[in-house]
Each structure stands twice: as C-alpha cells, then as structure tokens.
C-alpha cells in the first residue's frame, strides 16, 4: 500500500449505522447494492503530466438512496459521478452497476446501459435546443423499440405532468426559464425509468428559490418512485436534503455520512469497502 493509499479516506473503515441505529432504533436488513465502486482511481493527462482526480475510491450505493457527493471544486466529485454514469472510464479499479462490471463493456454496451439504467441531470440542463420540451423528454425513449408511439407519448405526458410542465410541452428550451429547463431535464432523466439518476450540480445555475423547488421535486420523486438519486454538489441545501453524503477531498473520500434526524452520523474508520446503508429518511 502506498503512502497515498494509507492516507486515503476511502480506505478508512467507517462503521456506518443505519438510520435506526443512529437514532437508537433497530437496524433493518441491508438493501440491494445498486452501484459498487471498487478501488477506483482516475488520472488525467495534462500535457506530459498525470493529474490524479480520484484515488482508490471504494463506495457502495444502495437502491433508493438520495445521496450527495460533496466537496470543494477539484475534489473529484464530478469525476466520480461521470465514472458511475459510464461516461468516463477509470484508470484502475472496477465499477459494478447491478451485476454488470462496466469496465469490461464495449462503448456500445455502455451506451445501451446508460440508455436503460442511468438518467442524467446536468448543471447546464443540456437540453437539445432544437427540440421542444416534450421532444426532449421523448428523445431517450426513441431507442426503446419495444415502445409503441402511443406508449411513448403517454409516458412523456406523464413525466411532464410529474414535473409540472404539461402546459409547456411545445415550448423550446429558449422559451423556458432555467427552472423549467431543469424540470424538463428531470423528466427526461425519469422517463426511461432508470435505476439511478445522476445529477451534477443540479442547482448551480438556478436561483435560490428555484433551486429549492427543484430539490424538493427530486426528493419527492425519490420517495414516490424509489429511484436512486446521486448528486455532486457543494450547495449546502442539496447536502441538507440528502439522506446520505460522501465527502470528497483531493480525490479521496474523507467522510461517509448518514442522516439521523437533522444531524449526520459519520463513519470515520479505515475500510476497504465503504458501504452506505440505503435507509430511507422520511424527515
């Protein structure tokens, strides 16, 4: 183990209590692990230099959690999110989504996995500007050949209703406010019924009030649909709303926390596999 490894927070075992344990209740049985990150490192090449972005990160994400990956700029949170989202590949280590080791998959297989398993919400919304709101929501479904046009449209309408944008279905992104665009992005992420939604700084480009509404909307969806949400953020409001948190610094996990009421309980011990119990927080 290198010196760097020894200092890696990812290798510190934190005894993560379940919510009940944290507040003195009886622990529930462990939930299904949706994403397993095993000893993942990522380095970028900058001219002749290799710049480490993540260093031997271990993490389990269980189904249904509403998790924030927090840390300052350059801490590696977006990199971790991109790796989980299969839009980037680790320099070393393995990532499992469900039972699939994504590091062994071809680019086309990863594209298919992304299409059916992962929803993305971006800081800059990233809607296709030439498509209307409903067409943007429909876009990822066009690959689902098993869906009829009627089924597709029905599903699009349903998720536009979920995000409260039915009346703006025909509007193009440039005719929508920032908050409305992000709602469209949320509907687009949800419409494929993904197992996990990855949101990279989803409130960064929104004003305080709108950001709060978007967060509450995502939390509501998380509760109602049991869809897993993972955010990268340095917005305290997002962290406050999360029920699990992973704190990153300099590419390493320094803290893993689970919400206990209004407080966080942190696991602070060295470990090889940092596991988060996917307890639901109803607070």
């Amino acid at each position: 183990m290198t010196s760097s490894d020894q200092h890696s927070a990812a290798n510190i075992v934190h005894s993560l209590p379940g919510r009940e344990a944290a507040i003195g209740g009886r622990p529930r049985s462990p939930k299904k692990v949706l994403v397993r990150v095993e000893n993942v490192s990522k380095q970028y090449r900058l001219d002749a230099q290799l710049v480490p972005a993540l260093n031997s990160v271990n993490l389990n994400i269980e189904q249904g959690v509403f998790m924030a990956i927090a840390g300052p700029s350059g801490s590696g949170k977006s990199t971790l999110l991109n790796l989980i989202g299969c839009i980037d590949t680790p320099t070393s280590g393995r990532i499992f989504i469900g039972d699939h080791d994504v590091s062994s998959k071809s680019p086309d297989q990863l594209a298919s996995l992304r299409a059916r398993t992962i929803g993305f919400i971006f800081q800059t919304f990233n809607l296709l500007p030439v498509l209307s709101a409903e067409e943007n929501v429909e876009y990822p479904l066009l690959q689902f050949k098993e869906l009829s046009i009627a089924e597709r449209r029905k599903r699009v309408q349903r998720y536009l209703e979920v995000v409260g944008l039915s009346t703006f279905a025909r509007h193009r992104p440039n005719q929508l406010s920032g908050g409305q665009r992000q709602r469209v992005a949320i509907a687009r992420a949800l419409v494929v019924h993904p197992k996990i939604i990855l949101a990279d700084e989803p409130t960064a480009n929104l004003d305080h009030k709108t950001g709060g509404r978007i967060l509450r909307l995502m939390r509501r969806i998380n509760r109602q649909t049991r869809t897993t949400f993972v955010f990268s953020t340095h917005d305290q409001r997002v962290i406050d709303m999360a029920i699990r948190r992973v704190d990153l610094e300099d590419g390493e996990i320094i803290r893993l926390g689970v919400r206990a009421g209004k407080e966080w309980v942190y696991a602070m011990e060295r470990m090889n596999d940092s596991s988060l119990d996917g307890e639901e927080d109803d607070s």
Binding site: I87, P107, D108, A111, F122, L128, V130
Partner: protein, 402 residues
C-alpha cells in the same frame, strides 16, 4: 434523426444559407460548364458527321487499314448488294456512293495536287448538310462535268464560279487521264485542311476519269447519331463477306482529339469546383460541429452510440448537400435556358474557318452528375469532422458546453 437533422441545419440560418450558396454555386457551375462542353461537342460531332463522314461508311475489307494508298485495289465494283443491305437497316435516311483518288488540278495559271471525290449529288446534299456554299451552288444531278472546290483551293488558284479547270488522274493501268470541268461552287467544310485540297465531281465523271465502274465507299446517314452502334451491327449482319463498316467515331480523328481535350479541361474544372465546394462546406461543417460538440455529448450520455453521433453529423451535411444541389440544379438549368436563348458566339475551332453559336444544353445526365457531386462533396466534407466528433469522449464533449 431526420427531424433532428433538419431542425439543426435551420438553426444557424445565415451560415446555412452561405453553405447552401457555396454548394449551389458549385453545382450550377457544373451544370453550366457541362452543358456548354456538351453543346460544343454535340455541334462538332454533328458537323463532322454532316459535312463529310456520315454515320457509317462501308469499305471493302482492308481499305481502311491500307490508309487509302491503293484505292484501285479496294474498289467495290458492284455496290448494289451493299446498297440493298443499307436500305434494309432501320433508321437510314440517306446513302451515297463515293470514289476518291489523288490527282492534279490545273486552270492554266497553276497546278496543285488534290483529292478528287466522285459523289452522287442528291444524296450527298442530304449527307453533307453542314457543308456551306461560299460561292455558286452545290452539284446537282444535271452537272455531268461540274465541279465544286474547297475554299482554300479556290483561293490558291484564284478560281471563280464559271471558271474551267482540268483534272488529271492516273488510271489503274498507270495511264494519265484528263477531263475538263466547269466550276459550279466553292464550299467550306468543317476541316480547313480538307478545303485546301478537295474537289467534288459527279460520280459518273470520276468513274470516267479513272476508267473504272466501281466506288470506294458507301456513306450512310442515320436519322439519329444515337442509332450508330445498333445500325452498324445490323448492317454488318446484312453485308456480304469481304466488307467492313466503320462508324463516324472511328473516322473522326479531329473530333476525337477535340473531344478528349474538352473532356480533360472539363475534368479539371470539375475537380476545381469539387475542391472549392468541399473546402467551403468543410469550413462551415467544422465550425458547426465544433460549436455543437456538447450536444453530441448529451446524445451519447443519453444512450446514443458514437456511430449515431457520426450518422447525425453526416446526415445533416448530406441534407445540406441535397438542398444546395437541388437549388444549384434549378438555378443552373434556368441560367442555361436563358443563356441558350441568347446564344454564345464562338470563334472557329482549330483547323476550321467557321465560327458558330454555342448554347448550354440541359442534359439530364449532367444534371444528375452535378446533383450527385454536390451531395458527395458535402458528405465528403463532413466525414473527417464527424469522425473526429464521434471520437471525442462523452465527458470531454460535455465539458465543452460548460
């Protein structure tokens, strides 16, 4: 994907309009250039056929290979069988027997070596419709000892209509034979060289002068030049043994070399236009795709493959190419029609004294080729940028949007 591509190309309207203009201009240039060259070659071809060659010529086998140096060895003594075969071929509108020999012409003031052609005046008038009469008239059936001379020859001997000239030829046996003729006309054919040494006299007079009853060739005019290959095959099947059929193209050395020259020039023009279109489109496509890299990143993050991104980029440019090429074809054809209505005065071609009025023909095959080239150049311009775009990692593509 088609809807997305169409909407994308309508986003940057000014840039799209400029790209379309570049494609349309290139395609229209090809339509105009191709139509112009085609018209020149068509006029030259028809003038070649209708001044001397006809569409087909029947010889005794071996005459063509001998280069005409031993005309007496290849005389067709009885052309009746050949004429019957020719008459049975569909599409034949005229046939004429000819006899050709070398000889001398003299008018008392001077003497020059000449090519003597014995012709049948009436059918030759139909075959040689592109021969222009500069003075006097054409030979007629009643001109037993009338003679027409080429423009250059008339000039060299200072001959005028009504002058008497004397022709001297060697017979098969080697004896010299001579006859007097009255000049009825001065002609100009397509070939200056021919006009400086050719005379035309009635076939009967030529046979009398050479002391033969045969002919060297039977010349055939068809209703349409496009019938040439079929008529040749048909005629060959009908001819008795010992004869061969040559098409105008095998006989028209001047036309062939001129056509090759024009086609080479047009080929170079085509390459230049293609490169110009390609570079213009490549520049625009490069800019557009570069600006839209994040969008392609989004598509791929949402589950589209890099192949899908490549296809969309190429499809957008192909659509631009199709629209631009359509505009180019329409504009090119419209300009061609207007210019043709006015006419383009052309100087005489090399080895010729006659200028002509060129037009720009609207040829379906040229329109189709220009249209296809417009699309292909556009697609070609998009391949490298699209390939580059499809290879950008998704994360990198998304990052460019931040």
């Amino acid at each position: 994907m088609l809807k997305l591509a169409l909407r994308n190309i309508l986003r940057q309207r000014t840039r799209t309009a400029l790209t379309l203009a570049a494609i349309a201009l290139g395609v229209a240039s090809l339509v105009l250039g191709g139509g112009f060259v085609d018209d020149i070659l068509l006029q030259l071809r028809e003038a070649t056929i209708r001044s001397q060659l006809g569409h087909l010529q029947v010889y005794k086998r071996g005459q063509f290979a001998s280069g005409g140096h031993h005309p007496y060895d290849f005389l067709i003594e009885s052309p009746d069988a050949i004429e019957r075969a020719v008459d049975a071929v569909p599409g034949v509108v005229a046939r004429a027997a000819r006899v050709s020999f070398s000889g001398l012409i003299s008018n008392g003031r001077g003497e020059l070596p000449i090519l003597v052609e014995g012709i049948q005046p009436e059918p030759e008038a139909r075959i040689g419709s592109a021969i222009s009469i500069l003075a006097g008239r054409k030979l007629t059936a009643g001109d037993d000892f009338g003679i027409m001379v080429g423009e250059g020859l008339a000039h060299a001997l200072k001959l005028k209509v009504g002058d008497n000239v004397n022709l001297v030829l060697a017979t098969r046996e080697g004896a010299m034979n001579t006859l007097d003729f009255k000049l009825v006309g001065v002609f100009r054919s397509l070939s200056r060289e021919y006009d400086t040494r050719a005379v035309r006299i009635p076939l009967g007079a030529a046979q009398e002068l050479t002391a033969t009853s045969g002919v060297n060739a039977v010349v055939v005019l068809l209703a349409d030049t496009d019938l040439t290959a079929r008529a040749r095959a048909d005629l060959e099947a009908r001819l008795p043994a010992g004869y061969e059929v040559k098409t105008w193209q095998e006989l028209a050395d001047f036309y062939n070399s001129t056509a090759a020259l024009y086609e080479r020039q047009f080929g170079v023009l085509l390459i230049i236009i293609l490169v110009m279109v390609l570079l213009s489109v490549a520049n625009s496509v490069n800019m557009t795709l570069h600006e839209r890299t994040p969008e392609f990143g989004i598509m791929r993050a949402l589950g589209r493959t890099s192949r899908d991104a490549f296809r969309l980029a190429v499809l957008e440019t192909a659509l631009l190419g199709a629209i631009g090429a359509t505009i180019g074809v329409v504009v090119g054809a419209a300009f061609a029609a207007v210019i043709s209505a006015i006419g383009i005065p052309m100087p005489p071609p090399p080895n010729s004294e006659s200028g002509f009025t060129a037009a720009i023909r609207i040829v379906p095959s040229i329109l189709a080729a220009a249209f296809a080239l417009g699309i292909l150049a556009s697609i070609g311009a998009s391949l490298l940028p699209a390939r580059h775009l499809a290879r950008i990692p998704v994360v990198e593509a998304l990052r460019r949007g931040v």
